[in-house]
Symmetry: C2
DNA sequence: GGCTCACGAG
DNA sequence: CTCGTGAGCC
């Protein structure tokens, strides 16, 4: 970036996190939306394809570099960016041989960007739930170990936790259930306590903002959702967050993902 | 029809036969095509849905009555018409309890219309092949037993037989193979010998006209197809056939059926 | 290659 | 409800 570029008025940089629920199934939708909204960085989860199947060429034609970490059938994360990502890291720092592809991180300009897909946990008390809590411990340790601190870090993804009652359409119904238990919320808040801010909530404390709706029971038309996706920002970045929101349009139309993209704009 | 209607110049009535390879999967395509081409009668094969799943309402909105005979997963035949079909008959006349839904017939105006889906036969000599030949015997018997003769009969469908070498992209390659064996061709020609005419060939003796192309190996772009779908017409109707063809456009675009519709126009 | 299914997972 | 899989069929 030139000195002129720095001093000129810069357009806010948009970062988005979207659980796409199969990249191959929704590639056309993704490309159209990239062309329309031109985000600087897109973190994807549940790409559900292995690295050989990743549509590198189509995304390159749409103007995006891509780094990705996938597996067959399940999980899979990626980061798309208009500038080239560097120093790509796969998995949580202390477990490189994780069979589940849930974490990728890369340096994009001055940002340290994570795209993460937390385990669902099935039901409170299940072995899948124990794995989820353990995974959150590992994530926290990994972020604490992040070189150069968290100031320029963004942790974007599907956390599979609705952090507060405001993030739940019917808190009484969901009380204590998976994604809403106190233990899960504590794990999520521990990340925020360690120097990260939930950007959506910095600007929008109001209830009724959701990022996920069950495919069943007309949950979306009734807006019976949860907000389980987030963009967490380190101090320097949180201070520059000028806008944030959820793109509900992406949960409409034919064969939508069950998640809507969560976005945050950062000024210069 | 009024006396005025009879004497006025009438637009040719188009009859189409199309193996749709899943009606539910291609309903939108079908509706669009009905709106564009407005055929009077459409015979469908491989609807692959049971009668409860048949999209009666959507077709009614598109201006079509429908009679159908389906089953779960496989086979399934239907007749769509702009005027109401009557005297609907299911299965081959001498076997009402056939577990395979391959035949439906109905009276539409002065026409006796059959929509038929012949067995594939797998490989010459297989038990599926024996079933196919037996099925052709039953079909021939059933047509011979047709009350009031075959003059006003149309037998439309996927015959799973390429009647002559002109109906095969590479006759040497296919010689003796399933859909091209002499025994199968004899069974098909026996229908024609009994007072029915292959309408496409009445007007188009030339080779290179196909109605089916394998999904694999770029068979359609290379036009490596077979003509295994037909509209057979009784004497009175054959004499009134003014045009015939195959709608190759329907084999293009996203997720086409492997078959293209075969059509014939009948003047007054 | 595209359909069906049943299964497992979300 | 909507994904993936793998098997069976065409």
């Amino acid at each position: 970036m030139t000195a002129v570029g720095r001093t000129a008025k810069e357009k806010a940089m948009r970062v988005v996190s979207w659980n796409i629920n199969s990249l191959r199934k929704r590639l056309e939708r993704l490309l159209h939306w990239l062309g329309e909204t031109k985000p600087a960085v897109v973190c994807l989860q549940e790409t559900k394809c292995n690295d050989e199947q990743f549509p590198v060429a189509a995304l390159r034609e749409a103007g995006y570099h891509a780094v990705f970490h996938g597996q067959k059938s399940y999980n899979g994360v990626a980061i798309l960016a208009t500038t080239e990502p560097h120093a790509v890291r796969i998995g949580l720092c202390d477990q490189v041989d994780d069979p589940q592809a849930r974490v990728i991180a890369a340096t994009i300009g001055e940002l340290q960007v994570y795209s993460i897909y937390a385990p669902n946990g099935q039901a409170v008390g299940s072995t899948a739930y124990a794995y989820k809590m353990e995974w959150y411990n590992r994530l926290a340790r990994c972020l604490r170990a992040q070189e150069s601190g968290l100031e320029r870090v963004l942790v974007c993804g599907d956390f599979n936790v609705a952090p507060n009652d405001e993030d739940v359409h019917d808190p009484a119904l969901w009380r204590g259930a998976i994604m809403c238990s106190e233990e899960e919320r504590a794990a999520f808040r521990a990340l925020c306590g360690a120097g990260l801010s939930d950007t959506l909530r910095l600007l929008h404390p109001e209830p009724g903002l959701f990022s996920w709706w069950d495919y069943r029971m007309l949950a979306f038309p009734k807006n019976r959702g949860l907000r389980i996706d987030a963009i967490l920002a380190g101090k320097d970045l949180a201070a520059k967050c000028t806008a944030a929101g959820i793109d509900r349009e992406m949960r409409k139309g034919k064969e939508p993902s069950d998640h809507a993209p969560v976005w945050a704009d950062f000024g210069s």
